[in-house]
Amino acid sequence: MTPEKKRNEAGLPDGGWGWMIVASCFLVTICTRAVTRCISIFFVEFQMHFGHDYARTAWIHSLVDCNTMLFAPLGSLVGNKLSCRIAVISGGFLASAGLVTSSFATSLEYLYLTLGVLTGVGFALCYTPAITMVGTYFCKRKALAYGIAMSGSGIGTFLLAPAAQLLIERYSWRGALLIAGGFVANLCVCGALLRPVAPNGGLTTTAASADSEDASEVRQGCDPCSWLRGERGFLLRPRFVVLAASFVLLATGCSLPFVYLVPYALDVGVSYQQAALLMSILGVIDIVGNLTFGWLTDRRCLRQHRGMCYMLAVALEGLCCLVAPLLQSFGLLVPFAVLYGYFDGAYVTLIPVVTSDVVGPSHLSSALGVVYFLHAFPYLFSPPVGGVFGLWSLGFRIGTMWSGRVRKGSVCSGSVYKGSMWVAECIKAVCAVAVCIKAVCGVAQCV
């Protein structure tokens, strides 16, 4: 890859500093998504210290997750108005401050505020602008770039979960939260790397790419009326509406198997070590799915059919959930974990790609804000349902501390798990149909 390489027809570098942007987004994903998952490792400590039950402690995680998605439009707004760089740096500062102040917590409500709200909003300010920036640098290799960037959550959870355990053992939860605050301050470094791509003669402070027909809308960004008309116009496009509906359904369904796999496995008679192995398989294959599916859908032959690939990934995920209640042994659950993990990684990678295909690169920032905002409400409401069983995150399950809690959860009736698996598959099937409709309507390509 030489610097003399021409920009592609859309005017995007498709490489060069773009790989630094991918690295920056990778680190942002680690510092936001992986840290969110690792917060659940602190729950036992919070429970012991504050004397509350698991359901109340679990609200912290759902608050962080929900706020990260709920304030995603704010993140894309700041990214559009000021710059993605300023958004990510201020988000990093806010999140770090939230974690540092939470290390002085005197009650659970204090933690709701500092961890749940402050850190959650900080993460929201970082997540969407970083993902948007990757889209502005890549066109031909967009899916691969997103695959690498999104794999940060899986890889980060893998690395941070044992690190969080070690920190808690050495410094107790207060010291561990303080050091986590320091780690999250690296978001400012990521922000500093987000050098905007300058469109030909356009403003350098927006994240928009050099799409000529939308360049005028970009320049009008400062005027509130045209901002509403121009930047929010994509909201009314039928393709986007269908896509948004499918995302809501997907978000409702996609976290359920992660929550219920281990209790379900224990319920059908799998040993605890094997259940933990299932979750590890799920996590590792998730990362593999991120990277390989991204690379695959960038291939020239598949690029035109990216929408179909996305639909296929979602439909196969749903199909896995459909047959899951029939799988009653470890030997059958392993292929389920492999397939489900792969297609889950695939779908996560393709969310920004498909969104950018539908709304066009200039509206990507605002569209992503809306898309992740729609993820917030399912994330908020599915945790209390799963809160009794106490299994949120992947890293949580890779760690071996929770054997007692998992066994307690498995004592509850197996029919609940089987019922929820069926609900998950129905939801998945519905959104697969929704995406199918979208694909049939035709998908704008970036060739």
Binding site: K5, P13, W17, M48, S172, G175, G182, A192
Partner: protein, 309 residues
């Protein structure tokens, strides 16, 4: 757990073994045997332990112990002598003769067990013995943490112990050297709080100081015998995690300054390059914001310099 009497028996046996293997005459007159008038077991040949069974008891009570043997070291005599022992001492008048029935020898006896111990039945003929032992103990503490619990000065910390089944009472001790002091929950100002949740007990230590570091013993007071668990506490100041935190913040500040400096330098160089290249460029070049060049000579040079930076 051995009483003084048992220790004496053991020492005499060891003394006997030592003098026999040494080959030298014993240093003094052999002590009067404290065991009953049977010949000492060491002369009978090796005792073979067939099984050991662990029994957990929470309170004194009657227990039925049954011993079953399929064959006596390969042989199957019609009758066999069986006697019972408690903690290595034979129970008086406990020997019975057992007939072989249904292809095995089986014997059952009820004991009133008041304290933990080692109960065993011994099947013996004239030369050899086979034993089955029942180890009766109080339950053991669950999930004992081998790593210390960490607390901060002036903060509070919670130490927990778990056991199954729930004991009638719990007691906490702090270990001071070789002694243990009961934890005082009634002192003013309140420093300790014990929360008894049946199978789990929590000791909250408030207003920590560095002297509070050390081992704490939680004792489950079962009627049969107490069960102990140790929890270690380590009290540190806030300075300890502050050091890695400050190290990371320094690294963040350094990296941010480095990146910003590189970019500013690249920007000024590109600005200089465009200034010298003049208006021949044609294409729009905005300062040093672009990392990669277009097909124009002046910017190419600046970008090459940028790359090397």
């Amino acid at each position: 757990m051995l009483s003084a009497r048992h220790t004496a028996v053991l020492l005499q046996l060891l003394h006997l073994v030592w003098s026999v293997t040494d080959g030298s005459s014993s240093s003094g007159t052999p002590p009067a045997p404290l065991v009953p008038a049977r010949p000492p077991r060491t002369k009978n040949g090796p005792r073979r332990a067939e099984q050991v069974e662990l029994l957990k008891l929470v309170k004194p009570g009657a227990m039925n112990l049954s011993c079953v043997l399929d064959d006596f070291l390969g042989a199957t005599p019609d009758t066999i002598r069986v006697s019972w022992e408690r903690d290595g001492v034979e129970i008086a008048q406990s020997e019975v003769t057992v007939q072989r029935a249904d292809g095995r020898y089986s014997l059952r006896k009820e004991f009133f067990i008041e304290r933990p111990g080692n109960y065993s039945c011994i099947f013996r003929n004239d030369t050899q013995e086979v034993t089955k032992a029942f180890l009766v103990t109080a339950p053991a503490m669950k999930e004992v943490r081998d790593k210390p619990v960490v607390g901060y000065v002036r903060d509070s910390v919670v130490l927990t112990c778990k056991i199954h089944p729930a004991p009638p009472a719990w007691q906490w001790y702090k270990v001071n050297g070789s002694e243990k002091d009961a934890v005082n929950t009634t002192a003013e100002p309140p420093r300790y709080k014990v929360t008894d949740k049946g199978e789990e007990v929590a000791l909250t230590v408030m207003n920590l100081t560095e002297e509070d570091s050390g081992s704490y013993l939680c004792v489950a007071l079962y009627l049969i015998a107490p069960a102990e668990g140790a929890v270690h506490l380590r009290v540190i100041t806030f300075v300890e995690p502050l050091k890695p935190f400050l190290a990371i913040m320094t690294e963040v500040l350094l990296l941010v300054s480095l990146i910003v400096a590189c970019e500013l330098r690249g920007r000024t160089r590109a600005a200089q390059a465009t200034a010298t290249a003049g208006p021949e460029n044609g294409r729009n070049v905005s300062g040093g914001e672009k990392a990669w060049p277009e097909e124009s000579n002046g910017v190419e040079e600046a970008a090459t310099r940028q790359r090397k930076a």
